[in-house]
Symmetry: C2
Subunit: 256 residues, 2 copies
């Protein structure tokens, strides 16, 4: 077993570059670090293009990525490239899942899409992906301005769901062309809408969630076929974007 | 108008100390900075014990805190004590709302309490407080180990709701003594529970949400009178704590 002890080793330099999300993204790759994050991706059957372990964690590589020659770093060098406060000595590099040209469909006429227009908070995006996976929605559609789904904070917040449910980047124009062309009801939240839970919604359905501060753009709201309102009997006038997406996802999942 | 230009001024030293949450907490105070945070608290009628502005923001103090002599700092000194990346030159110090010995009640027999046992993420706590305010719940009860509700991140995430809805710190023993003694149904989420939304719940009611990683303790679950399950038709096995709290809060608010 060859242990790399210098941070100037070309392999170390290459991996170190990939730990920066902007660099990995350019190459269509994702750097994952830590046992939970790595094992979640591996348990989904994703094959790493690279396995990196510290000297003391070669046993992990033998168990979780058999057949792949790991890059073994001294504890010191691993700590130097690590992006975490308490390095666990375990990292993998995987390819970004390909974003298909088509919209995913379950083919049972009960599709539910949650469409995010300009979601900015990684925690919110991750929480919505996790919720969509839990409630059995078909896919999470993200606008070009929504934050990167393979951002480390997003991946952590999904608790593995990022590898289960399709997350597809589409423009609002592409969304309306597909939904309108396929008889899929489009829904926006609006104060003038009917109450969520009043039996107004039917599947297949796509619902739109806007930016944390600004909500949905008027352009998108105007194109939606139906407006709904989340009943709020208290004083706050709005909900966190992930909470709003979740409450609607919960109601719609009753129809699946 | 006297402008303080030295960071060694005793008043600046005193305020600078209060910008650290642990120090402010010891004195039963809360330091709020930035126009949104300050104006939210002031619009709720809270009277600051101290107003701090930069030289260029004395107009803000005149408009929002008339009758209170502000501490005016040079831009430079304000920036030095500021806790934000882009200082807005506006801060206030308020007293921590007193945590009453009694449990709050609306007195209409329709109380709903969300009880948080060991919630650790400030974003989750803030999101739950905001949700509880929006859905008209009675109060948010936090265990002694739940994170500080007056932590800056929590306050920001509540979007002002922290000043609207009572947030009360109680032990689990105090909770069960009060709920059981007053005919308030106690509810825990559990895989073996009945489905949420099946008409099983009635008011008044208190529902318990556990720690992000570990869920509710067995001790607390065991003391609850009813178990419910959030139906999940997908693959993820659990929801983010704030999402779970919100979906249950949404269902219960239908009964309010």
């Amino acid at each position: 077993m060859q242990v790399i002890t210098s941070k100037d080793n070309p392999n170390v330099k290459r991996i170190s570059k990939l730990t920066r999300r902007d660099q990995a993204k350019k190459e269509g790759l994702i750097y994952l670090e830590g046992t939970r994050l790595c094992e979640e991706a591996l348990s989904r059957g994703l094959t790493p293009v690279e396995v990196i372990v510290s000297e003391s964690r070669t046993g992990w590589a033998a168990s979780f990525t058999p057949g792949i020659e790991p890059l073994v770093l001294s504890e010191n060098v691993f700590t130097k490239i690590s992006q975490t406060v308490n390095p666990q000595g375990v990292a993998i590099v995987i390819k970004e899942p390909e974003s298909s040209d088509d919209f995913p469909s379950k083919g049972d006429g009960k599709d539910v899409y949650v469409v995010l227009e300009n979601t900015q908070d990684p925690g919110n995006l991750g929480t919505i992906i996790r919720m969509a996976d839990a409630f059995g929605l078909t896919a999470v559609i993200v606008s070009p301005t929504t934050c990167d789904p393979y951002n480390d904070k997003v991946i952590r917040a999904t608790m593995g769901s990022i590898w289960h449910i399709p997350v597809v980047r589409k423009t609002m124009d592409e969304c309306f062309a597909f939904f309108n062309g396929n008889g899929i009801e489009t829904v926006a939240t609006h104060l003038k809408g009917n109450d969520l839970g009043s039996g107004d919604l039917k599947l297949p359905c796509a619902y739109f969630i806007g930016n944390e501060g600004d909500g949905l753009t008027d352009a998108t709201t105007g194109k939606c076929g139906k407006l709904i309102r989340i009943p709020m009997k208290g004083r706050a006038e709005s909900l966190n974007a992930a909470v709003a997406a979740s409450v609607i996802g919960y109601e719609l999942s009753k129809l699946i």
